[in-house]
């Protein structure tokens, strides 16, 4: 197995660190060889707050992945997130010189550079600029302008940027292990590669990745990334709310959320209670089920409402033909799809990575969507196949750094 085909995705999440090792086949399919994970410490809201502890956890997860997949990991694609990451759309323009016959690759590069000539806070760095559409002399919908004739080349880009030092901290954490970082990828972009198929992207789809510390989203309209972002609220907040509302420890609250929690109200009998078991299995405090669900409901509802407001500001919500696809660990919460449907008034699906082979248990778990997505993304970058559905990303990502 040549090393070139082994791809590794590393996600440093708030609740767990996840390493997925995959084998990229020449026909474009991916086989998952192994998944390593370790509970995460020293990470809050998707960002590293305790460097040494987080590094230890990353190391643990890597060792786990190496054992399970029987592969020496040398380089990874690193997922980054955090509420500091922001995005916008911008159009770049270049004039083609008179004496030049046709549009070249170099012109495509310079149009991308011109799209980046916008002011972002000086501490921020560009993470991605994703091509949406080309225009030649005002003509819309050009997919590949190279070789065509024209005087003015324009292109719309979706630009994702974040605070440079924070992104570099994550990179440094991995590099000190030591491991090579091939590229950093904004996590919802990775997750969207595996939870959405091309058809859904064309129809218009919104991928929401609700993790432990953040809720990340990415919206495709007409096959192009239109909006993306990250909200610093996640499953941790739900657990924290429960812990504070019911006055129980975080660990107990986490367990209660996973085993008994639901976001739907009015589904329990009046006065129905849940018994909190202590570590030895004896019955302890009783909690009214409706109370528990109310706490969860309020937090999740608020998160969705915030998200809806942000997306509405972009004005594309009505263009979502395929609907909303929720993934990430918190998507396992009971009833979350019904609530999302109620708030967004769109079809909602809970989904996980599709179109993979190998460890079924790995890709059918929404918790691993992002890490698997990193591999899919890496494959698209490495397999420079012109006809690939992801080909239009390649020049952008490949030459980013």
């Amino acid at each position: 197995m040549s090393r070139d085909h082994i791809l590794v995705g590393l996600e440093i999440g708030t609740s767990k660190i996840c390493v997925v090792v995959g084998d990229s086949k020449p026909d474009g399919s991916i086989k998952i060889l192994g998944v390593g994970q370790a509970p995460s410490r020293g990470v809050r809201k998707g960002e590293i707050v305790d460097f040494d502890t987080a590094q230890k956890c990353v190391h643990e997860a890597l060792v786990d992945a190496e054992e399970k997949s029987d592969v020496m990991i040398q380089s990874v694609y690193l997922g980054v997130t955090g509420s500091h990451i922001a995005s916008f759309n911008n159009r770049g323009m270049v004039a083609i010189p008179e004496e030049q016959e046709e549009i070249t690759d170099a012109d495509c590069d310079s149009v991308r550079a011109s799209a980046r000539e916008v002011s972002i806070p000086s501490q921020n760095m560009f993470i991605h600029s994703i091509l949406q559409h080309y225009y030649i002399d005002g003509q819309e919908g050009v997919l590949n302008p190279v070789g065509m004739l024209g005087r003015k080349l324009e292109a719309d880009f979706h630009i994702i940027h974040g605070i440079g030092t924070r992104v570099k901290n994550a990179v440094r954490c991995v590099k000190e292990i030591p491991l090579e970082v091939e590229d950093v990828v904004f996590t919802p972009l990775a997750a969207a590669q595996v939870v959405l198929n091309q058809h859904q992207k064309n129809l218009g789809a919104l991928a929401i990745d609700i993790g432990g510390g953040t809720t990340d989203y990415l919206m495709y309209i007409d096959g192009a990334v239109r909006q993306s972002g990250s909200l610093g609220i996640g499953g941790d907040h739900i657990t924290n709310d429960i812990s504070m509302g019911l006055r129980i420890p975080m660990a107990r609250a986490e367990k209660l959320k996973n085993e008994e929690g639901s976001v739907m109200l009015g589904m329990s009998l009046p006065g129905e209670t849940v018994t909190l078991k202590d570590d030895s299995g004896f019955a302890g405090k009783e909690v009214e089920r409706e109370t528990l669900n109310t706490i969860i409901h309020m937090r999740v509802r608020e998160t969705f409402e915030l998200l809806r407001r942000q997306l509405e500001a972009g004005g594309d919500l009505h263009l979502l033909g395929a609907g909303i696809f929720i993934t990430g660990g918190t998507s396992l919460l009971r009833g979350i799809d019904d609530l999302a449907q109620e708030i967004f008034e769109l079809p909602v699906h809970i989904t996980h990575a599709q179109t993979m082979s190998g460890l079924t248990s790995a890709f059918e778990n929404p918790q691993f969507s992002t890490a698997i997505g990193l591999i899919k993304y890496a494959q698209a970058v490495q397999m420079d196949r012109p006809s690939s559905w992801l080909s239009k990303f390649i020049p952008i990502f490949g030459r980013r750094r």
Partner: protein, 487 residues
Amino acid sequence: MIEINHKQQIVSQATEQVLIKVVGIGGAGLNVIDRIVLDGVVPGADLVVMNTDVQSLTSSVASQKIQLGRGVTRGLGAGGDPDIGLAAADEAQDDIRKALEGASLIFLCVGLGGGTGSGAAPLVTGIARENGALVVVLATVPFTFEGKRRTAQAGDALNALQATADAVICFDNDLMGEAVSPKAGIHQAFAAADETISQCVRAVAGLFTQPGILHIGFDDLCAALRPASGGAGRCLFGYGEADGDNRAHEALARALRNPLMDRGRMLDESHNVLVNIAGGPDMTLNEVQMLMEDFAKHTGDETQILFGASVDPGLTGRIGVTVISSSAIAISSGAAAPAFVPRVVPTAVPAPKVSIPAPREPVEAEEPSPAAPEPEDVAAAADPEPALVAATAADEDEDEGQQASLIPAEVRPAAPPRVPRAPRQPRILSATTDPQPAAPAARREERQETLQFEPVTRGRFEKSEPTIVDGQDLDVPTFLRRNMKVS
């Protein structure tokens, strides 16, 4: 804290071409003036200092100096007694009037709680107003560690000032002291307070004197200083200046870092926020835009942002951001504010109206307070057991964190301000007079609406960077923020 006297609003029309005087009264006032000189004089402003203590007057660097109470104190201090301070100022009335003549905008810097500042400031304010000047008082209330007596004296003076001045900006020394590292000396804590006030004077003076692209007037300032609920408010002030590539972002961050701002968290509660951006001719629209977008994250949807921008050639290469607002005092935040509620406590009437039987204090020192005949008790007369009410109110307050300990401070303004005081008996006094029935009862009622089930905390996220969207701290559980009752 702020109170607007509407009768005098007309005066504010004439503030376009203004002669500004910055007046420091008392020891603390002098320190502020010195600090203002150190930081660079406010353009076009005269500095005047007044004190009873000749020694500190001579060491002051101000251009005009007035000795108060030549005959009363004979060049010594007022000994922490506001009555002496008042008498001293009364004696020097003519000098004061002369010194303030012709000014149309007067900043009065005063440290409340002591003798000269607390006693003289209301009188000076009155004299300044006679001349038709607009008077903005910047007052500090003492640190908690300075004792309850001083806090009470400060409360009295503040009441009087609010009745006379056009605007009162009240600075909380406790909050300002938080900016200083625990190991720093006490002089640094006071210096930090002086510096904040100095910045505030310069910033507010700048609002009126610098040519504004988007001009901010006195009415905007008054609006920003008026808390949403009406009544008394605590001033939120922040000023930040920065240069370099990222100056817009940095300047705002610095302004919000001011301890009075509590990292911008306080802004959520305020109704009107005044933001003024000053910069050199090289300031770009883009910077302003980015800064305001940043700022908007800290405020709620309903908050009105009073925005101003001005160009000051002296600031070339730099950007300065001023944020002024106020928050109502009844909010049960954990901040250690010696909160005064002069407007809501029914007994807090302007000083001269209260006349009190002379033997009051000795009586109280011997027996429990409810027995002492106080005019305030009329308010609670309907209550058969005032002491009980006070006790339960105090009990309930204990849930509110530090608020319980603040009750004495709130109660004290009810005490008659200008009545000659008996020799001090601080410990006995505070032990017996604290649970006055009227004020806690009124306070409890007033707090009904904002009653929290428990102190607002962020649990696991206590120490992490807050997620603030639309001025709400999303780390605080949703059900707590919406005051939903659980379990």
